[in-house]
C-alpha cells in the first residue's frame, strides 16, 4: 500500500479529535473516551511511521505536490519519528493520570482539546521541514499551552502565566525576526534548501550571527543558561498533569530545534557557534544543579532537573561527533520519559501527603511502599545507574566529550550526575524514610484514587526501565537518527530528491 501521507497522521489525528471534542464541552465521559481513542490511534500511526522510516529511510511529503523547495515539506527522519512516538506515548499516560487528578471543573473547560492541540503543535514542530512552518507549529503548541497553564484561574496561575506568555511572545517575535534575516540572506524557507544555500556561501559572518540569534530564540523555549529564568516560576504554577506535559515535552521542542538547526544549517564554521553552545550548555548544567540542591520543594527540585538535562543534551549536540550525537538522541528520549515518570510520581506524593514541602513529610514507605520503590527506580534512572535508561545516553555523551577533547566538560557532566542523584535521593530520604512527622498527619485520601493514579505512573516507570534494558534493541534506531544529524546530506537528498 502506498502511504505517502503516513507521516502526517500523528499530526492530523490529534487535531481531528481535538476539533471533535470542542462539541462535547460538558460531556466529560465522551471527552475522556475520545481522547484515549485519539491518542491510541496516533500512537499506532506513529509506531507504524517509526517502522516505515526504519525500513525505507526518511519519509518526506511536500504538501500540494509542489516541487520541494516551493511547497511546505514535511520530513520524518528517525530523529523526529522517535520524538513523535515518545510525545504521544507520554501524553497517553498523562491523560490516564488526569482522569483522577485534574478535577471535573477543568475537564469541562476544554482541558482535553487543549492537550490534543498542543500535541498537534509539538508533533508538527518535530516533523516540519520548513522554518516558517516550524514557527507556526510553535505558536500552535504555545497557544494551547497558554490555555493549559492558566486553566483553573487560581491566583498563582494567573500571576505566573502572564509572565510565561510575555516571555514566549517576545521569543516568538525574535523567531520571526530571525526567519526574516535568514530569508534575506538565503532567499528560501525550506530547511534542506537553506542548508544547501548556506553551504554555497560557506557560512559568512552574518550566518554565525544568525546562528546565535536562533540559539537565543530556541534557548528561551528550551531554557538554556541565561534564558531559563522564566521556567521555575511558570512550571510550578499549573497542576501536576499539565506540569508533566510541559516538563516532558515543551522544553524538548526547543532542544530539538537547536539540535536541528545546529546540525543542518550552521555546520560549516562550527568553531565559534558550537563552542558557544558548549559553554552555554555547561553553564546550564551548573545553574540547574544549584537550583536542584537549593530547594526543599518537590516540584522545584524536579523542575531544575529539567534544566540540567537540557544542558546535558546540548553538550552532546555541541560535540558534533558520532558518540556525542547518539548520546544526545538517546538522552533526549530518556529524559522525556523519565521526567514524565518523575513528575507523575511526585504528583502522587503530593496527593498522599497534601504538601509539596519536603520538611513536612516522612515515613511514607510504611504506608505507600509501592510508591517509594517505583520512585527510587525512577530516581536511579534519572541519575544514570547502569541497567536503567539514563546510563547509555550519558555514557555516550561523556565519551563524545572526551573524543572531541572536551575532557573538562565531560567531567562537569559526571559530577552533575552526582548532584542529580543527591537531589532526587534527598526527596526519597525526606519523604519515605524515618518516622511520620507528627506535626503533619497524612490527609485522608481514597485508596481507589491512589491506585488509579499509580497505574499510569507504574507503566511509565516500566517504560523507562524497558528503554534502559532494551538498549541493544533500540540502538539501530538511535544510530539512524544520529546519522542524519551527523551528515546533513542524507536529509537534503531525501527532501530535494533529483
Amino acid at each position: 500500500m502506498n502511504m505517502i501521507n503516513l507521516l502526517l497522521f500523528p499530526i492530523i489525528i490529534p487535531f481531528f479529535f481535538a476539533m471533535i471534542l470542542l462539541f462535547f464541552k460538558e460531556q466529560v465521559v465522551i471527552q475522556r473516551v475520545l481522547t484515549v481513542i485519539g491518542l491510541a490511534l496516533s500512537l499506532v500511526a506513529s509506531i507504524w511511521l517509526l517502522v516505515t522510516v526504519k525500513a525505507e529511510g526518511i519519509q518526506t511529503v511536500t504538501l500540494g505536490s509542489w516541487p520541494a523547495p516551493f511547497g511546505i515539506t514535511m520530513v520524518s527522519d528517525m530523529f523526529s519519528a522517535l520524538l513523535v512516538t515518545t510525545t504521544i506515548l507520554i501524553t497517553f499516560f498523562v491523560v490516564l493520570y488526569s482522569f483522577q487528578s485534574i478535577g471535573i471543573e477543568r475537564e469541562r473547560f476544554f482541558y482535553y482539546p487543549a492537550i490534543l492541540f498542543m500535541i498537534t503543535g509539538i508533533n508538527g514542530a518535530f516533523t516540519t521541514g520548513d522554518i516558517f512552518n516550524m514557527f507556526v507549529f510553535f505558536e500552535v503548541l504555545l497557544i494551547a499551552s497558554y490555555l493549559l497553564i492558566v486553566l483553573g484561574g487560581e491566583k498563582r496561575q494567573l500571576r505566573e502565566s502572564i509572565k510565561y506568555i510575555l516571555v514566549n511572545v517576545i521569543s516568538s517575535a525574535l523567531f520571526v525576526i530571525a526567519v526574516a534575516y535568514l530569508y534575506s540572506i538565503v532567499g528560501t524557507l525550506n530547511m534542506a534548501d537553506i542548508s544547501v544555500k548556506i553551504a554555497e556561501i560557506n557560512q559568512p559572518g552574518i550566518i554565525s550571527v544568525l546562528a546565535i540569534l536562533f540559539l537565543i530564540v530556541f534557548g528561551i523555549k528550551g531554557a538554556i543558561f541565561p534564558l531559563y529564568f522564566w521556567l521555575p516560576g511558570s512550571y510550578a504554577a499549573p497542576p501536576i498533569p499539565v506540569l508533566t506535559l510541559f516538563g516532558a515535552l515543551l522544553t524538548k521542542v526547543g532542544v530539538y530545534a537547536i539540535t536541528r538547526t545546529y546540525t543542518l544549517f550552521f555546520v560549516h564554521d562550527i568553531g565559534f557557534t558550537h563552542q558557544f553552545l558548549l559553554v552555554l550548555s555547561l553553564l546550564t548544567i551548573v545553574a540547574g544543579c544549584i537550583g536542584a540542591l537549593a530547594y526543599f520543594d518537590l516540584k522545584q527540585i524536579i523542575i531544575y532537573n529539567i534544566i540540567i538535562a537540557v544542558g546535558v543534551i546540548l553538550f552532546g549536540v555541541a560535540q558534533m561527533n558520532t558518540s556525542g550525537l547518539e548520546g544526545a538522541v538517546y538522552y533526549l528520549i530518556h529524559d522525556m520519559l523519565i521526567k514524565a515518570a518523575l513528575f507523575v510520581l511526585i504528583g502522587i506524593i503530593i496527593y498522599v501527603t497534601g504538601t509539596s514541602n519536603l520538611r513536612e513529610m516522612g515515613g511514607l514507605i510504611k504506608s505507600h511502599a509501592a510508591l517509594g520503590w517505583f520512585y527510587l527506580i525512577a530516581a536511579f534512572g534519572l541519575a544514570g545507574i547502569p541497567p536503567l535508561s539514563g546510563f547509555i545516553g550519558k555514557l555516550l555523551i561523556v565519551k563524545g566529550g572526551f573524543e572531541a577533547d572536551n575532557a573538562f566538560g565531560s567531567i562537569v557532566l559526571l559530577v552533575s550526575s552526582l548532584v542529580v542523584l543527591l537531589s532526587v535521593i534527598r526527596i526519597f530520604i525526606y519523604a519515605f524514610w524515618g518516622p511520620q512527622n507528627p506535626d503533619y498527619p497524612l490527609p485522608v485520601t481514597s485508596k481507589r484514587t491512589y491506585r488509579q493514579l499509580m497505574a499510569p505512573a507504574v507503566l511509565l516507570v516500566l517504560v523507562t526501565v524497558a528503554y534502559g534494558v532494551g538498549t541493544e534493541w533500540l540502538m539501530p534506531y538511535i544510530s539512524d537518527a544520529s546519522d542524519v544529524l551527523r551528515d546533513p546530506s542524507i536529509y537534503i537528498n531525501a527532501v530535494l530528491k533529483e
Binding site: 500571576r159 517575535a173 525576526i177 526574516a180
Partner: protein, 113 residues
C-alpha cells in the same frame, strides 16, 4: 528606502523594549504589540522592497513585489492578534483577582505565595 525602514524598525524595537521593561502591565502589552509591528515590518523590508506591481497576476505586468514575505506577514499578524487577545483577557482577569497591574507586586515563590 531599506535603510530608512531599518532605522524605523530600530526605533520601534527600542520603544518596545523600553515599554516591556516598564512596571505597568498594560504598557508591557503595548510594548509587545510594538514589537510585533517591528517584526512584521522587518519581514517586509528583508524580503526586499523591489517590484512595482502588487503580486497579482495581470496580463502585461512582469515586475512583481515578492509575494512570500507578504504571506508570512499575514500569518504572523493573525497569530500575534490571537495571542494579544489572549494576553489582554488574561491581564484583565489578573487585574480583577490580584487588584494590581504593577509587575513588581506580582512576585512570589513557593515559600511565600
Amino acid at each position: 528606502m531599506e535603510l530608512l525602514l531599518a532605522i524605523l524598525i530600530g526605533i520601534l524595537f527600542t520603544a518596545a523594549v523600553y515599554l516591556i521593561l516598564s512596571r505597568s502591565l498594560l504598557k508591557v502589552i503595548l510594548g509587545t504589540s510594538l514589537l510585533s509591528h517591528g517584526a512584521h515590518l522587518l519581514i517586509l523590508t528583508m524580503g526586499g522592497l523591489g517590484g512595482s506591481a502588487p503580486p497579482v497576476l495581470i496580463d502585461g505586468v512582469t515586475d512583481f513585489a515578492d509575494p512570500l514575505p507578504q504571506a508570512l506577514i499575514l500569518t504572523a499578524i493573525v497569530i500575534s492578534f490571537g495571542v494579544t487577545a489572549v494576553i489582554l483577557v488574561m491581564a484583565y482577569r489578573m487585574y480583577s483577582v490580584h487588584k494590581t497591574d504593577n509587575m513588581n507586586e506580582l512576585r512570589g515563590n513557593d515559600e511565600h505565595d
